[in-house]
Symmetry: C2
Subunit: 298 residues, 2 copies
């Protein structure tokens, strides 16, 4: 992805994937398609529409192929899908997806429990997947999970996170999304580690910050990352998502809150804030989500 | 007030005053007394218990004298009251209050509309009030309102804010509370102006940050101030308060959110977080406040 000028930010909307996959409701194709089209209409230029993981593990994402084929694509918008492996990549490509997200954890235990591989085994697998995706003309981003803490291992060595990022970039990823998977990051920790990224990689252009609002600090953490030069942020409309380790807790950083923050520091996103607010309202009134615990500020 | 070491913060709890004065409900004395005693029990060491403004203007505060006389005082806790003028000061002292808060605005128009004086007239009046309070053994803090923006004038010259602070300190105020009265401050603006305070006054020890959460940025703004050395923060339990210019909007920065932030950056406050949470719950369940729009994170 191209480098950003410092007064612009790019929001990677994860609501239809990271958001919905952590909600108990399974949305029909037409509702997902509506959501994705509304997000594109609001000005979001990177939308993660679903994932090609096995439906046995994530039934919420079972219809991603059909969603990908059904959406009316808008010029200038990238429609991303998550793939766990080579098979998922093939399904994604067969469905016309050209923007591929891969994932692994920086925690051995979390990676083992989630992906049933060691971190090194994941790196080897992803090298092949990324290489194949790129050779077929796809653009790839890679998520690294639990970068600020793991539910099993606690603290994570950030040097290890940066080594993994280095490897994934060298395999051909265009962007690394640093995931605070359980929303445990704290503002000074985020700031310090983002400064280390900027120092090691020259800038934060190839990085995105992926925050969860488990403890109400996601927006402050986003500001901490912003101060160290981060201009790519993942977020979820309406705060869709929840956290599997904290029932009832807020989910991903809300897109509307992120827009408010970026607006307040005069950063351009090309996203229409009232339209984003409308989408959250629509998710509540028409789709039936109860986002009240996540909709703190109107 | 004594200077703080950098790994400690001092929370000035404004719920019973700035909070309740902006709520439509008028609490009976016994409920206010309970609230104040619960706050002290939770470890808050500076509690603003009410104000001695004319009850015609702020009926919610009419019983402050009786509240002051009724509360069971706890060792090590300072019980503050707001006074608008000499007459208010005398009523406060008569009620046994030894910790006095005075106030004025950094905006000519806001000051005129609120206090019916020019900024310079307010300074002259406060010089006398502060001098008298100090000579009678009181400790004084001074609020400066609208420091990050005024509902009538828009932008405020921060040089003017610092000149007013300088004057109020020279009159004998121990602390200046910088009020983002309408909650319009933005993180970079707060950070930049806090840096100017630290530069001009050598440290932020004599300053407190008073934030309102009108746009959901209060916590991020608190972090911005923290980064520039601020360790004194005003907040309101349960986010009591509201904003007179934005009906239904969140009020003061919530004490519970502030505690969460300070905890996350390893700053000691001596306040018991679960107890603070309990007070907010009690305000809802027993006192009958609807704090739902302000209680975003549990």
């Amino acid at each position: 992805m191209k480098a950003l000028v410092q007064n612009q930010a790019r929001i990677f909307e994860v609501g239809p994937r990271d958001g919905l996959q952590n909600e108990s409701v399974i949305l029909p194709i037409e509702t997902k398609v509506s959501l994705i089209e509304k997000l594109a209409d609001a000005g979001l230029r990177d939308i993660e529409i679903g994932s090609f993981v096995h439906p046995k593990w994530v039934p919420q994402m079972a219809n991603t192929g059909e969603v990908a084929k059904t959406i009316k694509r808008k010029e200038g918008v990238s429609y991303w899908a998550l793939v766990p492996n080579d098979k998922g990549l093939e399904r994604a490509i067969d469905s016309g997806v050209e923007h591929i997200a891969v994932f692994m954890s920086s925690s051995e235990t979390h990676n083992r429990k989630n992906i049933n591989r060691s971190v090194n085994e994941s790196l080897k697998e992803l090298e092949k997947v990324i290489d194949k995706a790129v050779s077929q003309g796809c653009v790839v981003r890679a998520y690294i999970s639990t970068v600020f803490g793991c539910p099993y291992e606690g603290e994570i060595d950030f040097n290890r996170v940066m080594e993994i990022a280095d490897a994934l970039l060298s395999f051909g990823s265009s962007q690394i999304s640093l995931g605070d998977t359980i929303g445990i990051g704290t503002p000074l920790q985020v700031k310090e580690n983002c400064a280390r990224i900027t120092e090691r990689f020259g800038s934060a252009d190839a990085f995105a910050m992926h925050l969860h609002d488990t403890h109400g600090l996601a927006l402050t953490n986003a500001f901490a990352a912003f101060l160290e030069g981060f201009r790519n942020f993942d977020s979820s409309v309406g705060g869709l998502g929840g956290c599997p380790y904290a029932p009832g807790a807020p989910g991903n950083l809300r897109t509307e809150d992120l827009l408010k923050l970026l607006d307040s520091v005069n950063i351009e996103t090309h996203v229409d804030r009232p339209q984003a607010d409308e989408i959250a309202k629509w998710l509540e009134s028409s789709v039936g989500f109860d986002l009240s615990t996540r909709l703190s500020f109107q």
